[in-house]
């Protein structure tokens, strides 16, 4: 694994840093301008400007139904529930998140490799890609918890040693997202600033941070600035199958959910193979491999999702 010297940390945060907005040093769309994108160019322009794009009806009903069945199968798998990849609610014990679902589920492995996702990731990152992290999120109704504002990249950089902003997330909703069941909220344009956070990184921080964030939390002032520049908070709202593609550094979060309507999604993080992990910049040992893939990395080979062949 490559080691880091002090000079190589282009995005310092925590460990004595003062809260501020620093400039982004990396492109948002890495592909050269002349290359034809795999989706409409207006979508790519919106992604560059806002830091995310939303695709409806990317998957057909059969594909979506298969994902929903798999979601329930995994929820009820007693052996899976004992694995470290399964994260439970602190108060109720209910399953909240399953990590590394692109390895634990053949169906979600196939979804992660589908060209509709991989080709978009390869274009935006202008590189071969691999899965840095994947997860299935179960957000129950009747009191699902909030997830406070954060930039994924800040965590992946500080705690995982991801050197540059050359990664993105794709979230596929498996339930309906409406305004009041805790949809993904994003601050458009926030991906252009790096929010330096105060505080330190405690040992084994990830075990707490998956349930409740306490470090890597942006200051109120930084959030207020980003919100003012944003022209208004955006929400990823839509029917099951709504697919949100967002830059690794866009500021996002979600409110809690008192409605009866659960909110589940599957979530893949694609990283450029040239942007593989180094040692964590916080100086702590790396987080487990099921949260942040490291070691010998194989580029994803795009392969169309073939449901018939699977039954």
């Amino acid at each position: 694994m490559p080691t880091n010297s002090e000079a190589q940390d282009l995005y310092p945060s925590r460990g004595g840093a003062a809260a501020t907005l620093a400039p982004r040093l990396d492109p948002v769309v890495h592909a050269p301008a002349e290359r034809a994108p795999p989706v409409a160019r207006q979508l790519i322009q919106a992604y560059e400007r806002r830091g995310f794009l939303i695709l409806q009806a990317l998957f057909n009903d059969t594909e979506l139904a298969a994902m929903q069945v798999e979601l329930e199968r995994l929820r009820n798998d007693p052996l899976l529930a004992q694995r470290p990849e399964a994260i439970r609610e602190r108060e109720t014990g209910a399953l909240r998140t399953v990590f590394r679902v692109h390895r634990l589920s053949p169906l979600f492995a196939a979804v992660a490799a589908d060209p509709r996702l991989v080709e978009l990731a390869r274009y935006l990152l202008d590189d071969e890609v691999y899965i840095h992290q994947s997860r299935l999120n179960y957000k129950p109704g009747f009191g699902g918890k909030e997830f406070y504002w954060h930039s994924d990249f800040e965590t992946w950089h500080v705690e995982d040693g991801m050197p540059r902003m050359r990664a993105l997330s794709i979230s596929i909703s498996l339930t309906r997202n409406h305004a009041h069941n805790g949809p993904l909220l994003l601050l458009p344009g926030s991906h252009r600033s790096y929010v330096v956070c105060t505080g330190d990184t405690p040992a084994d921080h990830y075990q707490q941070s998956l349930v409740k964030q306490e470090y890597g939390v942006p200051s109120d002032d930084c959030l207020r600035q980003l919100a003012e520049q944003s022209g208004g908070i955006a929400a990823a709202i839509g029917p099951p199958g709504t697919t949100t593609v967002f830059d690794c550094n866009v500021m996002h979060g979600s409110n809690g959910n008192i409605t009866p309507d659960p909110r589940s999604n599957v979530f893949f993080v694609y990283n450029a193979v040239s942007n593989g992990l180094r040692e964590p910049y916080c100086g702590r040992p790396p987080r487990p491999g099921f949260i942040a893939t490291r070691g010998s990395i194989q580029p994803l080979i795009p392969a169309p999702l073939e449901l018939a062949a699977r039954s």
Copy 2:
């Protein structure tokens, strides 16, 4: 104070009751059909059907600005902060609620008595009215807490001894309410069912329940039924001054608020003088007078808000 016999409790809840939806035994609009309402009749019909109505621009800009100034004045009043009426956030100590604001603030006393509110309350309740409870709510941005689903009447009946459903609330927003800063959510039509709750009522429950609800909480099954019948959750969204009038038994709550935008409102509960409090139906001592007015009750005398005369 009138005493209760077992036979008089028309709306039993807690104390061994099983969770269920019971029928409402009282009218929603108490005025006779032929009486001319003080607002458009369609609004009254919507109130009867849905359990609430929303009025925009009921107050002019001068009046609204005066309320906003008063909101800040009270927030910064060090003597007020020491009074029992001032309720603070458990974690941060920030002011969350000021009760009995119709007595503690001359301005809000005048707002409570304004004919635009009082005449509507007198019409809907078909009686002289008085203020059962009033409060100023400060819901901060950056993590304001949720308020779980509840019927106010269930609490007022069980803990305060309000005999019948002949009361209503009027909430005037003093900040902008949008979909994501924890607006008031309502289940349309839920006011026609009485949600019987399980559990007991601990002594001095109100001290906890103002910060976190644990009793008088509807079951998931009851909420699911009400949500299915509702045709969709409604949200009280709008600019400052948006005025929501809602029946004492409509199921409502609010999500938390991670956005930077605070959400403050002033809130008056009007009760029919013929529906004055008896002993609490839970058998516990009554809650303090600043939460539930009892004793010798004087009907409100409507008096137009006169800001010029006050300066």
